[in-house]
């Protein structure tokens, strides 16, 4: 069965290694912070200028000068640092953030991503997404495998204006974990109970399946 948002976030959190600096986009990626595996310590980077983002504040901790990149009130962990925006994006652009997780409208077999603009709809802007996909060492896209009409979001070629080119290497959807290389999607894991056939039917770009594809493991 297709994963819930929480389950996708859980699977994303399994990608984290001890000591990783991680930037999580808005939505499902943010939820991954709740599922960091035991024994693993990661530090959250928020691109408005906070390394070591903590949980939301309690009512009496709320401080208008302490917000995250989603403009939500937030706290800092012990040992956090705070800095200006050029420094924050130096960390991103310079490849110092280990893992970036973000959502997308479309990804294609070249590792291109479209996530910020749907022509005809009002364009609000890319915020830091283009910097993140250009800079991070390891970029994970999370999204549903298909849109509401059942159409694949894993394409031969993105149709929407791009956020970045040749930058996505790993995709975690409600159906599967996939790698992107050599102009194809390589199926690595299936959601529990989801068949290779279902995944294939919802993947427009070339899908490569090698041997038995294991199911994702959740503890």
């Amino acid at each position: 069965m297709a994963l819930s948002r929480e389950q996708i976030a859980m699977r994303v959190a399994q990608e984290f290694s001890d000591g990783n600096y991680v930037n999580l986009g808005i939505g499902i990626p943010t939820l991954a912070a709740n599922y960091v595996p035991e024994g693993i310590s990661v530090m959250m980077h928020s691109e408005n200028g906070l390394l070591g983002m903590g949980p939301y504040p309690t009512e009496d901790q709320v401080d208008p000068d302490m917000i995250n990149a989603g403009k939500e009130t937030v706290t800092a962990i012990t040992g956090a640092s705070i800095f200006e925006s050029a420094q924050s994006f130096a960390m991103i652009r310079g490849g110092h953030v280990d893992i970036t997780v973000l959502g997308a409208f479309e990804v294609d077999v070249k590792g291109n991503i479209a996530s910020w603009m749907i022509p005809g709809k009002l364009v609000k802007g890319m915020g830091g997404a283009m910097d993140l996909v250009a800079g991070a060492q390891n970029i994970i896209v999370t999204m549903t495998h298909a849109n509401k009409n059942g159409e694949s979001k894993l394409l031969k070629a993105c149709t929407l204006p791009l956020t970045g080119v040749n930058c996505i290497t790993r995709i975690i959807t409600d159906l599967a974990v996939l790698e992107v290389k050599d102009n194809a999607f390589w199926l690595k894991e299936r959601a529990p109970g989801v068949s290779v056939e279902e995944i294939r039917s919802k993947t427009e770009g070339e899908l490569i399946v090698e041997g038995d594809v294991p199911e994702m493991q959740f503890n």
């Binding site: 009512e59 917000i67 200006e84 050029a86 009002l122 250009a134 970045g164």
Partner: protein, 233 residues
């Protein structure tokens, strides 16, 4: 002898010289760390045709959003806009122009402008609509686009404390774009919560050096919160 005393006592004096069609760099991220009183003064002055370089454009009725009410803004250079209905309306009506710039590129463009760097290369935006019309150059097998430094006629900045020489420090994440905007204004005006005497800020802890600052004014701040999210205690 005025020396290095940058303190002004009125908002009129703080924004003196602002004229139609000027470019203003503004600090702030969302509603966090915005120079509320300086924005209000621009509204009061009724200056028109402004180009505003700021990550966002406030919300309806607060922050830079209030400059939309009398159509004072001609163009926004921002990474994320449209958090307010009036903005969308003017944009759709073609009354407002927007140049969308990735957030990190925007920050770096302000820094470059202040540092005398007219252009730099970044991978950000290569192969996307942002790259249209921009020079592409390859370094070590990867493609980068040329982005240009930005300088403003004015920079409006919100700091926590400043000394009378214009040395500033910022509080927590209200820092954001403020120290960058401060370096890149032909006239840089800083609105602060507290003015202290020289020597009260430690030399190594100063985040905007007085050399960048022309005027300092003490303000009062509402500090509206855009998205209050809390957890159980």
């Amino acid at each position: 002898m005025a020396g290095f005393n940058k303190v002004v006592s009125s908002y009129e004096e703080a924004m003196q010289g602002l004229a139609d069609n000027m470019t203003i760099l503004a600090g702030g991220f969302g509603l966090c760390g915005i120079p509320e009183g300086l924005i209000a003064q621009i509204k009061k002055m009724g200056t028109k045709g402004l180009t505003i370089v700021s990550n966002n454009c406030g919300v309806d009725g607060f922050g830079l959003g209030i400059l939309l009410e009398d159509r004072q803004i001609k163009k926004m250079i921002s990474s994320y806009v449209g958090e307010n209905a009036l903005f969308e309306k003017q944009l759709i009506a073609g009354e407002l122009e927007v140049e969308l710039t990735p957030q990190g590129t925007l920050a770096e463009r302000m820094r470059a402008g202040g540092a005398g760097i007219p252009g730099f290369y970044t991978a950000t935006g290569y192969g996307t609509p942002v790259a249209e019309g921009k020079e592409v150059k390859e370094f070590n097998g990867r493609n980068y686009i040329l982005e240009e430094g930005i300088v403003g006629d004015f920079a409006i900045v919100k700091a926590w404390k400043a000394d009378t020489f214009g040395n500033c420090i910022y509080k927590d994440t209200s820092m954001n774009f403020n120290p960058l905007a401060a370096t890149a204004g032909k006239i840089t005006v800083v609105e602060v919560e507290e003015i202290v005497e020289p020597g009260q800020l430690k030399p190594s802890e100063i985040q905007t050096q007085g050399i960048y600052v022309d005027r300092v004014i003490k303000g009062t701040f509402e500090k509206r919160i855009e998205r209050r999210v809390t957890r159980e205690a």
